[in-house]
Amino acid sequence: MSEQPDSEQSVDLKDPALAAFLAWLVPGLGHLYQGRIVKAGLFFVCIMGTFVYGLYLGGSKELGWGRVVYFSWGQEKRLPYLCQVGIGLPAVPALVQAGRMEGLKKVWLGGFMAPPRAQSAGPPQLDSYGKPIDPNFDQPTANTLHERLHYYFDLGTVYTMIAGLLNILAIYDAWGGPVFGERKKV
């Protein structure tokens, strides 16, 4: 069996728009849909591995994991999230947690991907039963995160940002095929 030269490799992209959407949803899913199994595996392992390692670096048992991926567009504009959301579904919990925080509801999973609590000057405000009005009063502030995680906060941010940006390359590959390849003629 003679191997086809790479430049003549033809790729059936099926529905490129759907493949691109799936590739955004989960790294490698668009390629899996197109039957490009090896690349699906490579993208999934590389991109998800980088993202998960970033979540691990940017968290701790005490503070909760994944503290570097959060959405905030109020006082603090969390611009790295614009890169992190490139990874799709794995970064979506940050939006849910931000919504819960905003709606004064207790964040889930011990604050996984939850935005840091706003800096407050005094003790938490209590209701008439003596309970704190903000159910997330126990969540760390941005200052606490930076102080406790030190440079791991930045490292985790960089890892998760790069994972999101790499997935944009993967999305483009799912949509347009490899640069040095050739699309299958319909």
Partner: protein, 68 residues
């Protein structure tokens, strides 16, 4: 002196760049080719290029720090 150098080598933040270089090289190369061998060959080239670029920046920074 060697133990100090060894310790500096182990406890160096630059090690965190290594997984990133590998992953970026592989993903970039995978967007260029479809088959495994060309992907790996291209990834090695990209990885070496990134390391070379980092080395040039390192030397530049070192020279600037000497002059300042």
């Amino acid at each position: 002196m060697y133990s100090a150098l060894f310790a500096a080598g182990i406890d160096n933040h630059l090690w965190y760049a290594l997984p990133l270089i590998i992953v970026v090289s592989l993903v970039y190369a995978a967007t260029r080719h479809e088959q495994v061998v060309p992907i790996l060959t291209h990834a090695v080239r990209v990885g070496l290029w990134i390391i070379g670029f980092m080395a040039v920046i390192f030397v530049l920074m070192l020279l600037i720090s000497w002059w300042l």
